[in-house]
């Protein structure tokens, strides 16, 4: 299908975008890379009266590292993240996750700001921001707000971003040299919508998880920082501890039933991902049970 008619304006700085958002609110949509917005418009799932194209705002581009923080401008494209030595060094989880976002022709346009603002519950980057304890920086004419990723995602395609606000950047504490990560997802085809996925970050003390963050996606209304991780930290992981964690995970997720996968299948995939993640991070293949927990 084709998008319905709309007005279009291209802005060259953030303030101009904010002034338009202040006037038009929910009637306006921000066009960043357009790789989520355009499909929803072509399918007539959304029909904004005004498109505000922010693609030419140079201050929203770029990746920088300063005083222990990795700062990523909202217009940074997926392909930029994928090829960035700074991201590979300071947030290697992101480099790995981005390779799973759609396909090269979409990664050439799609942006991290657009991806997070869209808040697709099956998307990779929202789960990564939870795991990496990222801060989402947004601006309106009233000033700037910094929102912790755990508070940013509020539901299916819903976030704490107000209609008058523009997502301007993401800040991530740089990865410590001791931290390790894991990323895996199950999709019908590579780059397709995840039926279940897991982004994880951890630090080890010997053979024990000192810290473990598990970010699941595709398994509910929004990405989930799983409390099941609490079963796995502080002492060497046993098969029983992992089984307890998988049971706890099962209790805290509420996956959808749709044409991609049944809820039961997503539950199974989520438990298996958890097992694989723990076994891989600890280098303990004995822990990865292939049978249903």
């Amino acid at each position: 299908m084709k998008a319905s008619a709309f007005s279009y304006t291209r802005v060259s700085n953030v303030v101009a975008a904010l002034e338009l958002l202040a006037v038009h609110g929910t009637a306006a949509k921000i066009l960043s890379g357009g790789q989520s917005l355009m499909p929803t418009m072509n399918l007539r799932l959304t029909s904004p009266a005004l498109i505000i194209d922010i693609g030419a705002i140079s201050e929203l581009h770029g990746i920088s590292v300063a005083s222990g923080l990795l700062r990523i401008g909202a217009l940074t494209r997926h392909v930029d993240l994928l090829k960035s030595p700074d991201i590979a060094m300071q947030a290697p989880l992101l480099s790995e996750a981005v390779a799973h976002i759609a396909h090269p022709s979409i990664r050439n346009k799609g942006t991290i700001g657009g991806n997070l603002a869209h808040a697709d519950p099956a998307a990779e980057l929202p789960a990564c921001t939870l795991v990496l304890d990222a801060m989402i920086v947004v601006r309106s004419l009233n000033g700037e707000r910094r929102i912790r990723a755990v508070d940013f995602f509020t539901g299916s395609y819903a976030s704490a971003l107000a209609p008058q606000e523009l997502l301007t950047s993401i800040e991530i504490p740089v990865a410590s040299t001791h931290s390790i990560h894991f990323f895996e997802e199950h999709a019908r085809r590579k780059g397709g919508h995840a039926m279940a996925g897991l982004a994880a970050s951890a630090s080890l003390a010997g053979d024990t998880f000192a810290k473990l963050h598990l970010g699941f996606f595709g398994i509910g209304e929004m990405p989930l920082l799983a409390k099941a991780a609490d079963h796995l930290t502080g002492k060497p992981v046993t098969a029983q501890m992992l089984a307890d964690a998988q049971a706890a995970l099962n209790a805290e997720i509420n996956p959808p039933d749709d044409q991609q996968a049944s809820a039961a299948m997503r539950r199974y995939l989520a438990r298996q991902l958890l097992g694989r993640c723990v076994a891989t991070m600890l280098g303990r293949p004995d822990l990865e049970a292939r049978k249903s927990a």
Binding site: S4, L31, Q35, M38, P39, H103, S105
Partner: protein, 161 residues
């Protein structure tokens, strides 16, 4: 403005001035306004890859871009890549290996494959499948397409295809 907006761009090296409605997507602009019907439209929401073209050197989905965004852009379509001879060997390999049947996906497939070969002169079969993962083909089962891309890479490297 919902009214026609002027844009100025180059398409396959030729300067184009046009008036476009904001809602017009780039694939429709190329097909309906410029008569460049090699850019195919399959799904119109970014899944199938039939509308793959190059904008400023990067491959993109033409159905997920607006013509009005193309101010000052350099657009290359299958017509341009074909006429310049840039992908003549790749096209010949597709023909030799029966890497197309109905041909609907072929323009997008060729442009995506050429993008891979420009970035990676010696891709593995897995690399080829990965790079073409966003392009659906409902005829060939992909095997012959991977063969053709692999043969082209070998040919360009001066090896036996």
């Amino acid at each position: 403005m919902t009214a026609p907006t002027p844009i100025s761009l180059t398409v396959n090296g030729e300067r184009i001035e046009a008036q476009v409605l904001p809602r017009l997507n780039l694939a429709d602009f190329l097909r309906e306004h410029l008569g460049l019907t090699g850019t195919h439209i399959g799904c119109e929401h970014g899944y199938c890859g039939a509308c793959t073209i190059r904008v400023n050197g990067d491959i993109v989905r033409a159905c997920l871009m607006l013509a009005v965004q193309m101010e000052a852009a350099s657009v290359e379509t299958i017509e341009g890549l074909s006429d310049s001879g840039e992908i003549a060997d790749l096209q010949a390999a597709f023909k030799d290996r029966n890497a197309l049947q109905c041909g609907y996906c072929t323009p997008g497939m060729l442009i995506a494959a050429q993008d891979l070969l420009l970035q990676n002169a010696t891709p593995s079969r897995e690399d080829i499948r990965e790079h073409l993962s966003g392009n659906y083909c409902r005829c060939t089962g992909y095997h012959a397409i991977v063969d053709a891309v692999e043969a082209t890479a070998r040919g360009r490297a001066g090896l036996q295809p």
